[in-house]
């Protein structure tokens, strides 16, 4: 070990570690502390122990939010990944092979750009747009057409049974484009000769997809699953702007971040909101750890 190596390493680490501690670790620690107090946002907080957590256990809106996260946790990644994979396959490998190169369906370069469009829009703008789409009267995009056709309007966001699904649909619509691009990149890195070999053996497209593409894309899928799972714990912007009465009707679309926002900034209960934040923190980490564990699988060396 040569003299001067430690100062060298420390010199490199000091800036990022300080930044991380100041801007990430310290605020986290503070949130844990605030969650054990009755802080109302102005005067210094008073210690409350686990009162906020006890309160949380009996809070119907909190449990509704958790329930919605569970639904989103299952549907959002599944649906988004399924659609994105399908599109990515069509765009990259779905066309006829010409000679030895695989290519996408006709016009795939154009579609690739189009699919990415929703990703470029800010979430609140998407929420406002879908507000028009879902509007429950004759000026709504869907219900307006239904009314013109003489059918009964659906009232996507005012029907307590449908509202959450309407919100999830928006989240999927917004997310798909990004994952199409992600999976496309993943597919591009699969060596072409593997496909060629499979094709020479007479494998149909379905086999190509399930036996070749999917296993070789496993790492990317895993990343997508974690990202989307974490996204399923968010949903704030869409819920806050799009839904009836911010998380309604009757809390049927509420999410934890919305509850946190309401409690902190509307009700002035920062301590209680922080407790929910801590709950969200543990939910998110548990999910990420579990997913990485469950999906652990030998990577295929290429």
């Amino acid at each position: 070990m040569r003299h001067g190596r430690y100062p060298f390493i420390v010199g490199f680490l000091v800036a990022p570690v300080t930044l991380y501690v100041v801007f990430v670790i310290a605020p986290y620690a503070q949130a844990f502390y605030i969650s054990m107090t009755n802080w109302r946002g102005f005067a210094p907080p008073t210690w409350a122990g686990f009162d906020n957590y006890k309160r949380m256990a009996g809070d119907g809106a909190f449990w509704k939010a958790i329930e919605h996260h569970l639904v989103m946790l299952i549907t959002l990644p599944l649906v988004t990944i399924a659609i994105a994979l399908f599109f990515a396959f069509l765009l990259n490998l779905g066309g006829r092979s010409r000679g030895s190169t695989m290519s996408g369906v006709w016009g795939s370069k154009f579609y690739r750009v189009v699919f990415f469009f929703p990703q470029l829009l800010a979430l609140p703008i998407i929420a406002v747009l879908f507000g028009m789409v879902y509007r429950p009267n004759s000026s709504g995009l869907i219900d307006g057409v239904l009314i013109k056709l003489g059918l009964a309007p659906v009232g996507w966001l005012i029907n307590p049974k449908l509202a959450l699904w309407a919100v999830i649909a928006v989240l999927v619509w917004q997310a798909v484009g990004f994952y199409v691009v992600l999976f496309s990149a993943g597919m591009a890195s699969i060596p072409k000769d593997i496909f060629e070999a499979a094709e020479l053996d007479g494998a149909p497209q379905s086999t190509l997809f399930f036996r070749v593409t999917l296993p070789l894309l496993w790492d990317t899928l895993q990343v997508a699953w974690v990202y989307l799972g974490i996204a399923a714990f968010d949903g704030f912007a869409i819920v806050d702007v799009l839904t009836v009465d911010q998380g309604g009707p009757d809390n049927n679309t509420t999410v934890l971040a919305e509850q946190i926002y309401q409690n902190a900034f509307k009700f002035g209960k920062f301590g209680y909101a922080s407790a929910m934040g801590v709950a969200l923190f543990f939910l998110t980490i548990t999910f990420a750890a579990l997913t990485l564990r469950v999906t652990r699988r030998e990577t295929i060396e290429l």
Partner: protein, 484 residues
């Protein structure tokens, strides 16, 4: 909706939809939810520095509050339904005229909480006057609990600007001091007089020959007639303005059982929400919701429904008397906004049909730690002067709480009718406070009202649900309780 939120509502009962403020919301949530996203390096809860001084100037006849004449004054105005012209063109010049050596810093904000909460909690650059209104207002309950507002007693006891023989408390509309008091202590100046009722087009009613009902039977008959004429008889916007409707339900409850029904609700008394009067009122309005509204309104914002009324598609709309001013751009010139009090529900109602809920809105306060506290109080005194109040009323077409503020101002047919209704009500005027005291109870009531009115809920479910929430708040030791 505190009183302030009511008044802030004209422009904006829901958080702004613009992208920047939403992103700020998201970032603000991040501060609590995922603190890593926040750039809070310092402790978020650092106590407020004690910068409160009480002026330091000499008290004289023209300067009864002892303002230091060269101390700067920092004024924060909520830029909503009333704009901020009244401050820049009327109130601030009045203050400058009294204290030419002082610099007045004017800040117009659309989201008071997000702008000011960090400044209050850190104790740095606390303003001297705050117009705490709009949907993003800071929770008054929390402000009181944490001792953030200056006691306004010196202001109310000071001689008024125009007549030194009269105290400021004697030149304002009765009830003004009480409306801004918490557990008997005056902290807030609610500046704009507000009357609530059901709004309709004078022209439409005249053309169709419809008359203003005072009994419930006549009211239902009117709704039937309107329905036959092809209009939606009654509606409010469920997406963001459900409190316009709970206001109506509770107004009916007060008429049935007397104003003590509301007092019990405000004081979180046991069984206040399950009282027969509340149940009767909820039953009556649930029927209106079931038969005489358009279910789509649950998904619409207040501006949408108000526009539909201006287009003669909706006949009756519940609101406060900021409505004509808020809708002035979309109202046909011959629309003739008119306000009627809610009709009696039973023949044995304790209050007459012409009783109304009246309050004052747009809450101004002086922070307890304001660097120029005396200047802040003086600013409020100038606002309440004849000139200050009159200029405000002229600019906003909304009467300020100073008696006679509307002299020489044409308020238009709408506000004239609500002012006439207020006069006709005489002493049968009441108010509701719980929403300003307990924001959670307001939110629950909005949700419960939407369920009751649009989603086929029952009065029993409404009352039980509200009682449950009220009980929970009562049992919550972290929430400061208020009584009247």
């Amino acid at each position: 909706m505190s009183e302030a939120r009511v008044a802030g509502t004209p422009a904006d009962p829901t958080p702004n939809l613009d992208r920047r403020s939403l992103l700020r919301n998201a970032a603000a949530v991040g501060l609590v939810a995922l603190p890593g996203a926040g750039l809070l390096s310092a402790c978020a809860t650092s106590g407020s520095g004690d910068s409160g001084t009480s002026g330091g100037g000499k008290k004289t006849a023209t300067n009864p509050l002892g303002v230091k004449e060269d101390a700067p004054l920092d004024v924060v105005i909520f830029n909503g339904g009333y704009g901020d012209k009244y401050a820049t063109e009327a109130h601030e010049p009045l203050y400058k005229k009294e204290f030419p050596k002082a610099t007045v810093k004017h800040e117009a904000v659309t989201d008071v909480g997000k702008t000011l909460q960090p400044r209050f909690s850190s104790g740095t650059s606390v303003p001297d006057v705050v117009d705490n209104s709009g949907s993003g207002l800071m929770d008054f309950g929390a402000l009181v609990a944490d001792g953030q507002m200056a006691d306004l007693t010196p202001l109310w006891d000071a001689p008024s600007v125009d007549d030194p023989n009269k105290k400021v408390r004697d030149i304002v509309v009765p009830g003004t001091v009480d409306t801004g008091s918490f557990n008997g202590k005056p902290f807030v100046l609610y500046y704009v007089s507000t009357v609530f009722g059901l709004w309709y087009s004078g022209k439409l009613f005249k053309d169709k020959g419809w008359t203003v009902p005072t009994t419930w039977d006549d009211f239902l008959k009117l709704l039937d007639d309107i329905k036959k004429a092809g209009l939606t008889p009654f509606g409010y916007a469920g997406a963001n303005a459900a409190y316009y409707m709970w206001n109506v339900i509770l107004t009916s409850a007060a008429k049935i059982g007397g104003p003590d029904v509301l007092k019990a609700i405000d004081n979180l008394e046991d069984g206040a929400w399950t009282a027969p009067a509340v149940k009767q009122a909820a039953t009556a309005w649930a029927e209106v919701g079931a038969k005489y509204t358009d279910k789509a309104f649950l998904g619409l914002k207040h501006t949408d429904v108000q526009l539909q009324q201006n287009q003669y598609k909706v006949a009756l709309y519940p609101s406060g008397d900021w409505l004509p001013n808020e809708q002035s751009k979309d109202t046909p010139s011959d629309f003739q906004y008119q306000m009627m009090p809610t009709p009696s529900v039973t023949s044995s109602d304790k209050l007459p049909a012409n009783a109304v809920r009246a309050t004052a809105g747009e809450g101004f306060f002086v922070p307890a730690h304001a660097p120029n506290k005396a200047g802040g109080l003086e600013y409020l005194r100038q606002m309440l002067s004849k000139k200050g109040a009159n200029e405000f009323t002229k600019l906003t077409k909304s009467p300020a709480v100073t008696v006679g503020s509307a002299e020489g101002v044409d308020l238009g047919p709408g506000v004239n009718s609500s002012q006439a209704a207020l006069k006709a009500a005489g002493s049968n005027v009441f108010n509701i406070f719980f929403d300003g005291w307990y924001a959670e109870l307001d939110k629950e009531c909005r949700t419960a009202t939407n369920e009751l009115f649009f989603n086929g809920g029952t009065a029993d479910a409404f009352c039980t649900r509200m009682q449950k929430k009220a009980d929970a708040i009562k049992a919550d030791s972290s929430v400061t309780k208020f009584h009247r």
